[in-house]
Each structure stands twice: as C-alpha cells, then as structure tokens.
Amino acid sequence: MSDPVICTTALTKVFKDFWGRTRVPALTALDLKVHPGEVFGLLGPNGSGKSTTMKLLLGLLRPTKGRVSIMGRSPQHTATRNRIGYLPEEAQLYQYLTATETLHFYGRLFGLNRTDIESRTSQLIDMVGLTHAAQRPVGEFSRGMARRIGLAQALINDPDLLILDEPTAGLDPVGCRQIKDLLGALAKRGKTVVLSSHLLADVQDVCDRITLLHNGRSIAAGTLDGLLKHSEKLQFTVETHTPEQVEAIKIAIRECCGEDPSVDVPTIALETFFVNAIANATGAADTPPSGVSQKTALAPFLGEP
C-alpha cells in the first residue's frame, strides 16, 4: 500500500494555562493513518477532540506527546501546506473583505499568478453559488454563506489533502448534498479528505473510513461497511406488486424461514425530497436570489486531471 498521507502515533495534546499547568487533556494517544484517495471521517461528541486533532495536523497546535507526519513531513514544514486546504470550524474570514477579495487574498498567499487567481475565484464563487453576493463584505454574510466562502477558500490551491472541520454545519440541504458530491468527485480524482461532522447521515454518505473519538480517545475505528453491516438481516425491494402477491410472498417466507417478515413502504429520504423541491422551485423563480443560488457542481479547475 502507498505511504499514508497522514500518520499520527500516540498523539497526545494537553492544553496548559499561562503558567504551564495542565488544564484540559484534549487528546490521548491517538493513532491515525489516512491513505491517499480516502475520505476519512472523525466523529465524536462535542469536546471530544476532533478540531484539536485537525489543528495538530496543520501545525497550528503543538503536540504534547507523540508524532504527526503529514505527506511524510512535519506539520511545521511550510511548503507542505501548499498542497493542503483547510476549512476551520468557524468561518474565519476578514469581515471587511468582499467574497472576491477574500479569495484573491488567499490566492496571493499561495503565490498563484493573477490570471489563475481571477479565474479560480470566479469559478469557485460560482461553484458555491454566491455569484450575486461576490461584491458584498463577508461580515454581512449569513452563517451558511460564510461557510461556503470558507469552503471556496480551502479549495483555491486545488489541494491534494482537504481538512474540513464540520463542512456541512450551517448549510442548507442542497449545500450539504453539493458538498457530498464535491467530496465524492475529489476523492475520485485521488484527493484525500479528512472531515469531521455531527451529521451522521452525511458521514455515512461520503466516508470510507471513520474514527470515533470520545474524551480524546479513539473508541472505534474502521471502514463504514465493516462497522455498520448487520450481517444477519436481509431486505428485499420490489417495484410492482398486488396485495395477493404480497400475501403469497409472506407465506412463502414463513414456510422457508419459520418467521414472519416485516413489510413496509420505503419513504424517500427527506434530503432527496428537499433537493428535488428546491430544484423545481428554482426553475420557476422570477425574483433575484438574496441567498445562494446553485449552478455548477464542480469548479472546472478542480476537474482538470
């Protein structure tokens, strides 16, 4: 197997106060390995150390004990961060800059040239559906809008590794779905994604592997399939049926297996319903949007091989 993108051994973080006394043990002996092309999920209740782990990976915090290597380097290595995109937990943006200025600013920090900055900015703003708000200061943005700009800012360097702290928090269902599609598309191109989320349905949709944290310790880890498969039960689905046929099937199952099967009508997920309803309404709308408006699924520069 190829070298892991992220590798931590016995990673421990204890927050200290001004005088160096122990205040909070936030993370204890965490071992993580994330491989290229994987979508990796960090789960856990509030305060379990997810954000702390991400900040340790980025070198923003220093480990108390243990080692972190990211793309084979120390997290303090500046040049490695050329290939990383990070979406912080809170939308951490300069309030007075407009959406466009924000992306230009980050583009300049990456040393991109002017044409790249311009084209990537407009593609990303289009992708996150904020074209009509591009010239407004981000301080005025709603939480979800700021989150979208945060995501755009994390993608401006076309990163190989994306670290997303609760990417779907505060987003509308259409935005959530879009992010999940985006992550899928990026993973297909061989990019690695590490994300944390409280929305388990989202995690289940996109993640290949997860680690469950509790009080700073990993209490479960593995592939989603491995963790979630209920190996005894089976489920049949049929499209067309009459009451008589259903009755006949029930009898057959009772005879074969010796137990009554449960029969129910599947509902579509509320998310699917919402996404479809909004798609229909957007087609019919004749007023200009004040919030977000979705257009492209993936900024073209992110799709380039």
Partner: protein, 325 residues
C-alpha cells in the same frame, strides 16, 4: 519573492484593518484638534514665541501615538488570534515569521499616517501661536487656525461622502484624507500674512519641528514592536497595561537606572534594556532656535532600528512556538 509578496499582502491587510478601527480615527482627530487648540486658548509663551504650541504638539504626538501604536499592535495580533483569522492564514504556506513581520509593517504604516497628521498639526499650531510684530502687535494667526481646525471636519465629510457614494469605510477615508488636507493648509497658508492679507509666498513654518517629529515617530515604531511582542503571550488589556509601564520606565530610565549605571552591573543591564524615550525627545534642544543635527538623527535612527529589530526577533521566536487556535 513569494515571501515578499505574502509580506506585502498581509501588511496591507493589517494596515487596512487597523485604519478601520474607530479608535484610530478618534485618537488622530483628538491629537490634531488639541494641538491646534493649545495656541488658541493659551497666551503664555514660555519665553519663546510658539514654544508652548510646539512643545505640546510634540507631546500630544508622543502620547496619542503611544496609545495608538500600542493599541493597534496588540489589536492586530490579539484580534486575529481570537477571531481565528490567524489560524486560517497560518494554515496556508505562510511562515510565522512573515506573518509577524507583516503585522509590524502594517501597524507601522498606520503610525506613519498618524505621525504625518500630528507633525503637520504641530507645524501649523506653531505658526498660529501668538507672536509679536511691530506693525501688528501681539497677533494670533486666525486664518491658519480656522483652516487647520476645518481640516478634521472636512476629512470627516469626505469620509461620509465616500461611504455614501462608494461604500468605502468612513474611518479609513477620513484617516487618509486628514494629512492631505493639513498638508494643503500648510502649503496654502504661505500665501497669507499672519494678519490674513495676501503676501508673497512665505510659509513661516518652523522646519525644525520635522526632525523632532521624525524622532517621535521612531520612538512610536519601537513601542509598536514591543506591544506586538507582548501580544504574542498576553491579551489586549494586559498588553496595553504592560506597554504603559514600559513607557513610564523608559521615560524615567535616566533617573531610575541612569544614576547608578556605571557602578551596579544590574542597573547597567536594565538601563540598556529599557527603551530610552528621552533620546527621541528633542523639544528642549530646539527651544530658542537650536537645531537637531544630522548625526544625532542618524544615531537615534540606528538605536531605534537595532532596538526594534531585537524586539521583533524575540517576538518572532516567541510566535514560532505559540499555539494558534
């Protein structure tokens, strides 16, 4: 090359964000207004015409500047750390040393804007002050005073207009307009006599104020560096308070350590370490027509440069190990 570009980008952003702080505008306006008010309200001259106006102008420049520089420095770092923008920037390929240096450059830029206004105000105040001439008797330069006092008002007007028309930040436009207007007044008042009539061009400004103000500005840059370095570990209020203590120590260092320096090694060390603001205070030297020599300016500039670099290096080392979250 790339680091330079990052440095420039971050410094420009810091300056822009600082200029938007209402406190900066408030301090600058107060400094200018008070400086020009002094010659209008006091008839006393301390034995030399315009001396009180000049001395208090320089003193306001120093005091308001210290507050402005100290506040701007720790706000620039503390605010960014608390709002998390520092974390967002440092998760990009930005060296911490570049980030720190950019903060310093940004606030120095703002201090420079402030110092320009304060210097021009002091020049004008000195011209306004009561002076005796055989043909006019004791006379205040009312026209210059009016124009100078009008500048802050017009600057605010321009700020409001730019905000209304172009959605520019009121504070930063007003901050940037003020020195321009004061400069226009300083140049323009040369066309008038002190009594207000037309006359062949003769500015009647005391140019010795410029090097004196420049020295004050150097002292301000030094304090900015100290405040920034403190802000790595401390939050806003402790930083400002500590700056204030250092300021007082530096003002009194000649009395506190200077007398025993030479005998006691500890006093020697402390004397060398505390910033000595007295070097930057030449108001007494230029009283009665004294001049600030070029060599003195150079020596002070060297002192300020070395001291600032040393402090900044300390700050960078501390910041390298600081946690940003």
């Amino acid at each position: 090359m790339r680091k330079l570009r990052q440095l420039w980008t971050l410094a420009a952003l810091t300056a822009a964000e600082t200029l938007r702080q209402p406190v900066c505008l408030l301090l600058t306006m107060s400094c200018v207004v008070l400086t020009i008010l002094v010659p209008l309200t006091t008839a006393h001259n301390f034995g030399e015409e315009g001396r009180l106006a000049r001395d208090s102008g320089l003193a306001f420049h120093l005091m308001f500047g210290l507050f402005l520089g100290g506040y701007a420095a720790c706000a620039a770092l503390t605010r960014e750390r608390e709002s998390g923008t520092a974390a967002a920037v440092l998760s990009k390929p930005v060296d911490r040393s570049v980030f720190f240096a950019a903060k310093f450059l940004g606030i120095t830029g703002v201090v420079l804007v402030f110092s320009t206004s304060a210097t021009l105000a002091t020049l004008l105040a000195q011209r306004v002050a009561l002076k005796y001439a055989s043909d006019t008797g004791h006379l205040l330069d009312g026209l210059t005073a009016g124009l100078a006092m009008g500048s802050p008002v017009i600057a605010c007007g321009v700020g409001a207009w730019a905000n209304f028309r172009h959605r520019r930040a009121f504070q930063s436009t007003a901050m940037a307009t003020l020195p321009l207007l004061l400069a226009v007044v300083a140049v323009g008042c040369g066309c008038f006599t002190r009594a207000g009539g037309w006359a062949p061009y003769h500015p009647q400004l005391q140019w010795q104020i410029v090097p004196a103000s420049l020295l004050v500005a150097m002292g301000l840059a030094m304090l900015g560096a100290i405040a920034l370095t403190l802000a790595v570990r401390l939050s806003l209020v402790p930083t400002v308070s500590t700056c204030f203590v250092i300021l007082l120590l530096g003002l009194a260092s000649d009395y506190v350590f200077g007398q025993s320096a030479g005998h006691a090694p500890l006093a020697n060390l402390l004397y060398a370490l505390t910033p000595n603001w007295q070097h930057f205070w030449v108001a007494d030297a230029i009283a009665g027509g004294g001049v600030v020599s070029g060599t003195y300016m150079l020596r002070c500039a060297l002192y300020a440069f070395l001291y600032t670099s040393g402090i900044l290096c300390l700050g960078i080392v501390a910041f390298q190990h600081a946690e940003v979250s």
